[in-house]
Symmetry: D2
């Protein structure tokens, strides 16, 4: 129609190639949401599992996401460097992922919080940040996991003081002010008998979802199809890297699974064992 | 922590001030979603009402949205020109609105499609386009409503040929190829007895959600509170325009409602009756 | 070659259509340049004329510039709203204009400062700012001309105190601190016999370069070519506005000149007399 | 003033940190400029030296530029990865560099083309492209130098056919169409006795300007100042890398020179000998 010229106001928004995209979503006003739905304090395992579920759904849909990290009301998704998802159009990637995460969160709420009906619509913000090197990508995830630790140590002690120690929240804040990490560990143990390091790894380390390739040996044995893996199994298409000097570009089907763990991702071990994550 | 420097890679993304933002969401792969959930063809009133519900929820939350227009699996939201929502940060506005729409769509699905359980997670993409003048804003909405008309006329005849006329979809496409508007009207009437103009306005015109101010006279009468309005009632804060030359900036509470209609928005009448929409 | 893929890192940078572009250049470190080349204080007419010359060269080359305003070491260029210069690519427009201005400044230096050889390379920064409405465009130019006035009044008195009053610069600053406009006028007159309003308009109002259409009557008379205009004459192509609803798009040759004045552009008179500037 | 709000329309434009910036300038309409000023064909050494001079001036001013490559009417400038010049504001960096290059080109014209007065104002466009890794930076420079070779071989033969072979330009184009590199070499030699590889390296390889650190041993000997170097000598401040984990940030003065060569930059040798270029 004669009005179609208004499309010309839509401007291109491609993200720089050859750069890692990290998309982070964060719950909108989850302070209130967690109160209204009586989330356990400081960590509600069911709510965290629901976040993991939504993140897994996102990774199942978007094969270019190779790693995700979640804590509290947030999740970060790392795309492989050479991703050409939606031609790297920023708004398209950003909204589609944020929308799917939200959808899954609402869709699956009742599976995890079965006795707590959802009272109103939860929502999430999202952003994409570009990281040009493997070093900054590693530092990004270290940043988030260090944050998990700091917050959890604080919150665990805070809520112990309030819920078990009978203090007001104002008092608890005052007690905590200025304390360093070792003092918090000490207070947790001496006052409440809590050995911080024995708390659930999920609370201390957050959630790590990593796309793992299923070894082809397993697949090839006796000409049999690999035994179906539980839940997380899937088949993804990994396009060979698209590097400009490669002669052939044939698609290789690789069977991948999405594995959940609550492990350290600050040290080298995790990354050395999974060179693919930062590879291309 | 020493990793916090990674925040420096987050770049500012403010949208040009003094410009209308239109945020359009569109269902991701709703061709499949509508098939899988047996949406009535060509229009499923329940599915469209669900869209309207989600859009209303968005407008209830974001007071700077003054008008919305929906059709098929899409919705467009117009922000008042002087909006400073989230300091006009593009990703923040875009994702929060898209996420809330998605959330409401899933949350309210069962209210509208009660006998059709949602099989999987629906999602939406979103984009913000800036329009610098009232003329292009009007043309934008004319573009969407003209599109509604064109698609609906085509689809109505197409599905009549298939569902009532016993044609294959291939045959129906062939019949329609090259026909102009008047021929489609004629075929609809002569073959199927359908007077196009008597079809539901919702299908022909799409859905218009407009924020209306409740007249203060009504409110002031006898010192009584205004009689509560049904469902759509709400109280919003409208900050006076923020124009640089205004001396005072006191907030004025204005009672507004969000009204749904299926009216023409291409002609002048709608806009002349609501000068506020494009005012500031 | 196999290396050509690096072009993919060049990202598009189109500027929003339907919006006024204002490109402002500003001399880099002209404090030092003016010192090193003994510019007259507070205003060096030759240096300002050189700026005007460079700005005129820019307007002669870029027909979409309809108005320019200069003061001190800066110049602002207004493009007509519908300009499609270089497909509105930001870097291309920005650098080409800034470069040409610089080139002309150096090229023509000796014409204006004939007894002061240029000692080193002057340079300019540049930026493009988008303005969505005629109101903000007017306010932009008011901002610059008000700035001219404020700075000139201050500088005129400051240098009178120093050069004629024998004060140190520190003393002069101290005297001026906290004074309002009327006090400065008063001091200028009482101490130095200077009636501010009788100073050269160039210094008080800055330089306005405006593209004017030469009336076609003049051109048509007796089938004669219009009498050649002095210096500023030129022939430009004005493409009809490109508005989406126009049926025909034939090019119309319009004879235009670029006129220099030092007039008020804050009030309405200037703009009312030249509706074309803000027209399309 | 009350108009100052228009500054709010100036939006931030920071470039992604941790990424190499390459700024390329290219002569505007140098086809015409070279004709009008009788540049020697296919290469005018004086014109190329003038380009080198302007590029050197740019590098002398902007210490964060570590490498530059020039050919024909273009020059590319590589900034060290950690550069924080103008807080990485895109337009500021882009225009200031492009303007200074232009200024120097005009300023120094007569030194190189002394018998050819500049007829009008030359200008350049400029663009900044971000490259996230050392590999793509290397490929970028390989792309430009390979381009130099391809164009020069073509142009050398083309102009030999025209100027020495008496062909029209149309004929020369026809002869060259479809020929591969080896055929061009062969024709150059058999018809014109030109051994391509014996042509000036400047024409075959382009110009490489590299910032080299002057060894501190030289400087320290006997407590003497290093012997002043010719022309290119300078003292620059190299701020230690700004990497987030560095404890101290003291500035170290390093004496650097800018060296010109016409060497291969496609192979590893150049880069291996200068690890600093891509270092931080
Ligand atoms: N009780 C409880 N609260 C949680 C849990 N996970 C997250 N929250 C709450 C604690 C925080 O108030 C909030 C997350 O902090 P944010 O900084 O994201 O704040 P919030 O979402 O309220 O605001 P925002 O819209 O993100 O600016 O969510 C949980 O497992 N249990
Ligand atoms: N049967 C039926 N289908 C509908 C209705 N509303 C929307 N749809 C379907 C028809 C179209 O196939 C689709 C909307 O077209 P789109 O161009 O948005 O395509 P789709 O969402 O499949 O792909 P996309 O992800 O947006 O590129 O949704 C409805 O009320 N009834
Ligand atoms: N004496 C004299 N100085 C002038 C004249 N026009 C401009 N200037 C000087 C006065 C100011 O110091 C300077 C312009 O101020 P700016 O704010 O642009 O500062 P400057 O160019 O030094 O630094 P910048 O690189 O723009 O941040 O140029 C003139 O006609 N006569
Ligand atoms: N004769 C001669 N011409 C040269 C020399 N260096 C550059 N040129 C001319 C040859 C080309 O026509 C032109 C450079 O090609 P470009 O692709 O940059 O084209 P041009 O600058 O004309 O247009 P542009 O504004 O960059 O799109 O400059 C030289 O040393 N001698
Ligand atoms: O969400 P974050 O952690 O980036 O930080 P914030 O303080 O919530 O800020 P915003 O969400 O507004 O960017
Ligand atoms: O969604 P639209 O109508 O803007 O157009 P499209 O063809 O679906 O394209 P995209 O969603 O990829 O912008
Ligand atoms: O040049 P201006 O007037 O925009 O202001 P500034 O203070 O010089 O700042 P910058 O040139 O760095 O934008
Ligand atoms: O200048 P280049 O080589 O990038 O390529 P072009 O064809 O001249 O295009 P433009 O200068 O318009 O980007
Ligand atoms: Mg936040
Ligand atoms: Mg939150
Ligand atoms: Mg959070
Ligand atoms: Mg679409
Ligand atoms: Mg869709
Ligand atoms: Mg659609
Ligand atoms: Mg400045
Ligand atoms: Mg200046
Ligand atoms: Mg200035
Ligand atoms: Mg070019
Ligand atoms: Mg060129
Ligand atoms: Mg060129």
């Amino acid at each position: 129609s004669k009005f179609a010229y208004v499309r010309n106001f839509e401007l291109p928004d491609p993200l720089l190639p050859g750069t890692f995209m990290i998309l982070r979503i964060d719950g909108h006003a989850f302070h209130r949401l967690s109160e209204e739905h009586n989330f356990a304090k400081p960590n509600d395992e069911r709510a965290l599992q629901l976040m993991d579920h939504a993140a897994r759904d996102v990774m199942t849909e978007f094969k270019d996401i190779v790693l995700a990290f979640g804590e509290s009301d947030e999740y970060s998704f790392l795309f492989r460097k050479s991703s050409t998802l939606y031609n790297r159009r920023e708004a398209k990637i950003l909204t589609t992922v944020t929308s799917l995460f939200t959808s899954s969160y609402v869709f699956n709420w009742s599976k995890y919080l079965s006795d707590t009906p959802l009272k109103y619509c939860p929502s999430f913000d999202g952003r994409i940040v570009l990281y040009p090197s493997t070093t900054v990508v590693r530092d990004y995830f270290s940043w988030r996991q260090a944050d998990t630790h700091i917050n959890n140590l604080y919150n665990t002690l805070f809520w112990a003081l309030v819920l078990k120690g009978g203090q007001t929240t104002t008092q608890a804040h005052a007690v905590l002010r200025g304390t360093v990490s070792s003092q918090k560990h000490e207070m947790l143990f001496s006052r409440f008998g809590i050995n911080y390091n024995e708390l659930a790894a999920r609370f201390r380390k957050g959630s790590v979802l990593v796309r793992e390739e299923v070894s082809t040996e397993t697949e090839g044995v006796d000409g049999l199809e690999a035994t179906p893996l539980p839940v997380s199994e899937e088949v993804s298409e990994v396009v060979s890297s698209g590097a400009p000097r490669k002669a052939s570009k044939k698609k290789v089907r690789v069977r991948t699974t999405i594995e959940l763990c609550h492990c350290d991702i600050i040290g080298d071990e995790f990354w050395n064992a999974r060179p693919n994550i930062l590879a291309d």
